[in-house]
């Protein structure tokens, strides 16, 4: 997923699903990438108007279908 892209969450791998769900990130939600820090830094995404920061490894496990 790229910078400033918008899309909907298709799938989240494994046990991460539960933890992210509690933060409001779950299947079917629209997600927008706000920033991505350099050198494997964390990303910041927006879901339902709330910003969440998560590590890159976690972010990789979220499968997003981007809107074009």
């Amino acid at each position: 997923m790229d910078y400033d892209d918008k899309g909907s969450v298709k799938d989240i791998e494994g046990d991460l699903q539960d933890r992210l769900a509690c933060m409001g990130i779950r299947k079917g939600k629209t997600i927008r990438m706000i920033t991505r820090q350099p050198i494997k830094g964390p990303v910041v995404v927006e879901v339902d108007g709330a910003d969440t920061s998560l590590g890159l490894e976690m972010a990789k496990k979220i499968l997003v279908e981007t809107d074009r």
Binding site: D18, R19, A21, C22, M23, G24, D48, G49, A50
Partner: protein
């Protein structure tokens, strides 16, 4: 009567606590300001009520020490009334924790805090319908300005445990 203030980090539990008890605990705008619980007391409807400000937690499966404190508190206070403080603009994930607490058999009052912010964001919540479905009192609050706090205190007594099946039954059509 004992009241536990529970909810996600940074939803304003400590602000509600300060409003209720007049005891001052540190509040800030970052998640995790409160790492230990604080206790205070207030009078609600002529009765002495002990209020406990619990550290924020995302769910009842703790992932750090502050969250452990929160869950331990809940398990220790078997007959407490829980005020589930929710950020109104993030109501869905707030409901998740609220349901978890309801399922454990606690009488719950739902405080839709940061109501002003949610309204500002264009969010509209049908409070009466929500209260009807959940079968618990639901109060919109803006703790920083004190709005809804008295109302919140006055409904504490009417909180009853609810069966989650009943909620599910009232919630209407399958997804």
């Amino acid at each position: 009567m004992k009241v536990l203030l529970m909810g996600h980090p940074n939803v304003g539990k400590s602000v509600v606590f300060n409003r209720f008890t007049g005891v001052d605990v540190i509040t800030s705008n970052y998640p995790g300001t409160t790492v230990e619980y604080s206790e205070g007391s207030m009078r609600a409807e002529g009765e002495e009520v002990t209020v406990i400000d619990v550290p924020g937690t995302f769910s009842l499966e703790p992932k750090d020490k502050a969250e452990e404190v929160a869950v331990e508190m809940l398990e220790k206070e078997k007959d407490a009334v829980v005020i589930s403080v929710v950020d109104a603009s993030k109501i869905e994930r707030g409901l998740y924790l609220t349901l978890e607490i309801i399922e454990r058999g606690y009488p719950v009052v739902l405080a839709l805090n940061m109501w002003d912010m949610a309204k500002h964001k264009g969010l509209n919540i049908d409070v009466n319908r929500l209260s009807e479905i959940l079968g618990i009192p639901v109060v919109p609050t803006t703790a920083v300005s004190g709005e809804g706090i008295n109302k919140l205190a006055s409904v504490l007594k009417s909180a009853r445990p609810v069966e989650v099946e009943t909620i599910s039954g009232r919630a209407g059509g399958r997804a």
